[in-house]
Structures are given as C-alpha cells and as structure tokens.
C-alpha cells in the first residue's frame, strides 16, 4: 500500500499490515507514534538519552507484539503509553538504587527572564517541578495536561479507576503549583503573561 494511502489509516490497521509483512506500515507508525512516546518518556524521566532508549524499547515491543495484536481490544497509543510508563518506572527504580544524587542535573543553561525566552523558562521550570512529583502523580499530570488525554483513557493506561486518576491529577497539580510559586520570583514574571 502506498505511503499516502496509509497515512490516514488507523494505528491498529497499520500494525496488522506490518505484521503481514508490509514494508511501509512501520514507517508510518514510527513517524506517527515515536514523537509521542519520546515526549512522554522525556517528561517522565527528565533525561533525553534515557528517553530515547525507552522510546526505542517501547517501539521494539510494539513490533514484536504486532502478530498477536487483537483488533478492538485496546488502542495502540493506550498500549504504548502504558508500556512507556512502565519502562520509565523500571528506570526510576534502578536509578534509586544508584542514589538520587548521582542522577544527572538538568542542564543549567536556562535563559534569563527576557521577553521571548519566558516560554522556554516556563517549560524548564515545569519539567523541574514535574521531576519532583511522585511517579504516579507525574504520569497522571503529564497525560492529562500535556498529552491532553481524557481521564477514562488515562485510567486505562494506568490501570486504575477514573476517580483515582482525578485524585492523582489534583494532588499533582497542587504540588506543582506550590513548587512553581516558590520559583516564580526567581523567574521574574507573573502568571498573567
């Protein structure tokens, strides 16, 4: 099937095509899914190199499971978000064994609060604050407010109830707000801009 025809095909159909030996389906799926997987992993881990390893591993698991994929059971993206989160959790556990002090420091090349660079400073501040949240709160907040998924899908990804998702998001946001308000003066701007 030509690339153009496949670009509008659902993920699940592409995965079946891939399993049946189609050469183009994997390219379409890679282009479509890897940006999401990488973004989720990087926000969860706060580290680019590790996020790339996780993204590659999550996609490898997708390629391997393709022949057993059952249509209609779950969305490919839901499955991938879950696998990615689990791979990140494994890395957290290993990192804790090493000691938090040895975790790589965020690169401190943050621009000053000059006009136009505020967005970048905010994104960095958000990532720093996310890094300080408990794992599950961080995952729920990222999926809800950055990936902009609905609570039912997040519940499916995290294998918890919708109420538990709401609770995790609410607690995560409270902790984020507290952390960011403490930094606000340092960044030299207010929330109205």
């Amino acid at each position: 099937m030509p690339l153009d025809d496949q670009s509008s095909a659902p993920d699940e159909a592409l995965l079946v095509l891939y399993a049946n030996g189609d050469a183009v389906a994997a390219r379409v799926l890679t282009a479509r899914l890897v940006p999401r997987v990488l973004a989720q992993a990087q926000r969860l881990l706060g580290n680019r190199a590790e996020a790339e390893d996780v993204a590659q591993e999550a996609m490898l698991r997708l390629w391997r499971i393709a022949p057993e994929w059952r249509q209609g059971e779950a969305k490919v993206t839901t499955w991938l978000y879950r696998v990615t989160a689990n791979l990140c959790t494994d890395r957290f556990r290993k990192a804790r064994g090493v000691g938090l002090d040895e975790a790589p420091e965020p690169e401190d090349e943050r621009p000053g609060p000059a006009e136009g660079l505020q967005e970048r400073a905010r994104a960095d501040a958000l990532q720093d604050a996310l890094d300080k949240l408990p794992d599950r709160q961080r995952e729920a907040v990222i999926l809800r407010h950055i990936e902009e998924l609905g609570n039912p899908e997040i519940a499916e990804i995290m294998e918890i109830s919708v109420e538990a998702v709401e609770s995790l998001v609410a607690r995560g946001k409270r902790a984020l707000a507290a952390e960011l308000s403490a930094r606000r003066d340092d960044l030299g701007y207010t929330d109205d801009g």
């Binding site: 891939y18 399993a19 030996g21 050469a23 994997a26 390219r27 799926l29 890679t30 282009a31 890897v34 940006p35 990488l38 973004a39 990087q42 926000r43 680019r48 996020a51 790339e52 993204a55 590659q56 996609m59 490898l60 390629w63 391997r64 393709a66 022949p67 505020q118 967005e119 970048r120 905010r122 994104a123 501040a125 958000l126 990532q127 604050a129 407010h145 950055i146 902009e148 946001k173 984020l176 707000a177 960011l180 308000s181 929330d191 801009g193």
Partner: protein, 126 residues
C-alpha cells in the same frame, strides 16, 4: 449567564509552555527504530510459520484430536460409562417398560422383532 473566569489556573501557562517545548525525535533515533522494525519483520518472515512437525504423538492424542479434542473425548467417555452402567444394572422399570411395549398393546412393534428377544424379555433375561 455568568461569565466564566478567564484562565484562573495558574498552571495553565506552564502547561502551554510544556506543550510548546515538545521534544522532537532526531533522525538517528527514527533510523534505529525503523531498523528494529525491519529486523523483527525479517526474522518473522524467515521463521517457519508455526512448525507443524511430523506427528510423533501417540494414538490416543491423535484420536482425541480427530474426535474434536479432549472436551469431546470427555463427553464420549461419560456416555460410554453411562451406557455400561445401564447395561450392567438395568433398572427394573426399564425391563417392565420393554415388556409392556413388546408384549402389550403395542403389538405392531413386534413385527420386526427377533423372536428370541421377545422370549428373553419375557424371561427377564434382558
């Protein structure tokens, strides 16, 4: 209608900035992932599809498969045991009913019946 307060969540600006700063995968990562996809696909194509080795299983397994697998075999075994039990300890009512049918008012049924069987039924030997 009340006006909705505009953007009261102080975190909204941070989340917007976070969305705008979405990390994009580089070419090297995309190439690695596509190479994985091609390798997994090639390995699968090379592997013999669901190796159907020559049948070296014993005859009970082959028989069970021919009859529809072990669930069907279980049903068959149950029916066999039930038949054997009926044969060994025929309920008294069964003999009485058979006699009634054969020697009673349903004489028409006797037409094709083996005379020996009638004798045995009357004698209670069946």
């Amino acid at each position: 209608m009340m006006d909705e307060p505009e953007n009261t969540d102080p975190l909204t600006a941070y989340f917007d900035a976070g969305k705008a700063a979405r990390p994009e995968p580089g070419d090297a990562l995309m190439a690695r992932i596509m190479a994985d996809a091609d390798r997994v696909q090639a390995e699968r194509a090379k592997a013999p599809a669901a190796v159907s080795a020559p049948e070296r299983r014993g005859w009970p397994v082959r028989l069970a498969q021919a009859l529809g697998g072990w669930p069907a075999m279980a049903g068959l075994a149950a029916a066999t045991v039930a038949g054997l039990w009926i044969g060994v300890s025929a309920p008294a009512g069964l003999t009485g009913m058979a006699q009634e049918v054969i020697a009673g008012s349903e004489a028409a049924y006797l037409i094709d019946l083996d005379p020996d069987a009638t004798f045995m039924l009357a004698d209670g030997g069946m």
